[in-house]
Symmetry: none
Subunit: 142 residues, 4 copies
C-alpha cells in the first residue's frame, strides 16, 4: 500500500483543523511518500517561510532512520555527535525534535511521514498525529 | 496583496481539474509565495517523485528573474551559456521550459508563481494558467 | 505593503549613524525583503569581508522562523540541537545571536529584516533597531 | 588603494541614475571589493529577487579570472566547456555575459568589480561603466 494524494489531503486538512481547534500558531504541514519525497504541503497564512524546510527536516529525518522524530530527539540527548553527523550526512534534512511522525499502514509498513512546524514541538506533533489518525492510518511519533 | 493559502488551494484544485479534463498525465502543482517559498503543493498518484523539484525549478526560476519560464526557454535558445550560468548562480533552481507561470495581482505586482510538471511543457503551462485564472488572478506565462 | 529601496536606504544610513554616534566598530548592514532576498547592503571601511554572510545569517534566519534573532539565541540555549539542525536545514543561513531584527509594518506584518554585524551582538542589534525606527517601521528584535 | 564605501556609494547612485536617464528596467547594482566580497548593493523597486545572484555572478566571475565579463562571454563562445567547468569550480558564481565590470585604479590595479543586472546585458554594462567612471575610477568591461 502506498500513500495516496487523497489520504495526504485528509491528513493535511485534519492536522490544520486540529491546530485551529487548539488555538495553535499558524502551521505548515508536509506529507512525504515512502521515499521521502513531497506528496502534499500547505502553509497557513502567517507561518514564516522557513517552515517548509523545518517540516521537511523532521519528516525526512524520521523516515530516513525509520523512527519518529521524537525518538531522534532522545537519541540526540544520549548521542549528540551521532545525530549531528547523521544530519550532515543526510544533507541537513534531519531535525531531531517532535513533529516528524511516520505513517504506517495496518501491517506496520512505513508508507510515508508527516512533518509539522509552526507551534512548539509538542503541539506540532499533536497536529501531525491527529491528521494521520483522521486518515485511518497509524502515526508513529517515535 | 500577498498570495493566501485559500487562493493557493483554488489554484491547485483548478490546475488539477484542468489536467484531468484534458486527459493529461498525472501532475504535480506547486504554488510559491512572492519570495519563492512553498505555500502549497500536491502531486497526483502516478506522478514521479522528482516532479516537486522540476515544478520548483520552473516556478522559482521564473520569479527570480521576473518572467514566466516560457520566456526563459526563449532566452536559453539565443543565450544558452547565460541561462546555464544563471541556473548555477541561483543554486540550480531554474528550469527554462514552459510551466512556470508568475501570478500577478490586479496592479501587475508579482505575488507568487505556479510550477506544474507531469505532462509535456505546453500542457503543464495550460494547467498552471487555468489554475491561476480560476483564482481570479493574472497568469504571466512568459 | 512591501519594503521599498527608499526605506531600505534610510534604514542603512540611520543604522550606520547610530553606530558612529556610539563609537561602535565598523558595521555591515543588510536589508532583506519579506522573502529573505537582499534589497540593500553597505559595509563600512574596516569591517571584515565575512560580515555580509554573518548579517545575512542573522536576518534571514530571523525571517525564516518568524522571530528576531535574539529569540533564536534564547532557543539555542534551551534546545541547541534543534537550532543546529534548523541551521543545516535552512542551508546554513541562521545565526542565533542578536542583530537580526524583523521589520514589521503598522499592521504587524513582516515585510523584511535587517542584519547588522561588526560590533558585539547587543550593539549590532541597537544599530538595527535605530535604523528601522528611523524609517518609521517597527523593529522586532526577538 | 582599496575601494572605499564612499566610492561604492557613488558607483551605485551613478549607475542607477544612468539607468533611469536611459529608461532602463529596474536595476540591481552590486559592488565587490578586491577579494570578491560585497561592499554595497541596491536593488530598485520592481527588480526581481534573483538579481543579486546574477549581478554577483557577473562581478565575482570577472574578478576571479581577472577580466570583465564581456571577455568571459567571448571566451564562452570559443571555449564553452572551459567556461562551464570554471563556473562549476567557482561554485556557480560566474556568469559570462556583459555587466560584470572590473574597477581599476590609476595604476591599473584591480580594486573591485561592479555587477549590474535588470535590463539587457549591454545596458547593464553601460550602467556599470557610468557608475565606475563617475567615481573617478577606471572601468574594465572586458
Amino acid at each position: 500500500m502506498s500513500l495516496s494524494i487523497a489520504k495526504a489531503r485528509t491528513i493535511i486538512s485534519s492536522a490544520l483543523a486540529a491546530g485551529e481547534s487548539a488555538d495553535m500558531q499558524p502551521l505548515a504541514v508536509l506529507v512525504l511518500d515512502a521515499g521521502g519525497h513531497p506528496l502534499a504541503f500547505e502553509r497557513q497564512d502567517g507561518a514564516s517561510f522557513g517552515r517548509f524546510d523545518i517540516a521537511n527536516g523532521k519528516a525526512r529525518g524520521a523516515l530516513s532512520l525509520g523512527v519518529g522524530s521524537r525518538a531522534l530527539m532522545a537519541r540526540a540527548e544520549v548521542a549528540p555527535s551521532f545525530v549531528a553527523a547523521a544530519t550532515a550526512a543526510l544533507g541537513g534534512t534531519l531535525i531531531p525534535v517532535p513533529g516528524g511522525v511516520i505513517v504506517a499502514d495496518a501491517d506496520g509498513h512505513h508508507i510515508g511521514a508527516v512533518g509539522v512546524s509552526g507551534d512548539n514541538s509538542d503541539n506540532d506533533e499533536t497536529a501531525a498525529v491527529a491528521g494521520i489518525s483522521a486518515a485511518g492510518l497509524t502515526p508513529v511519533p517515535g
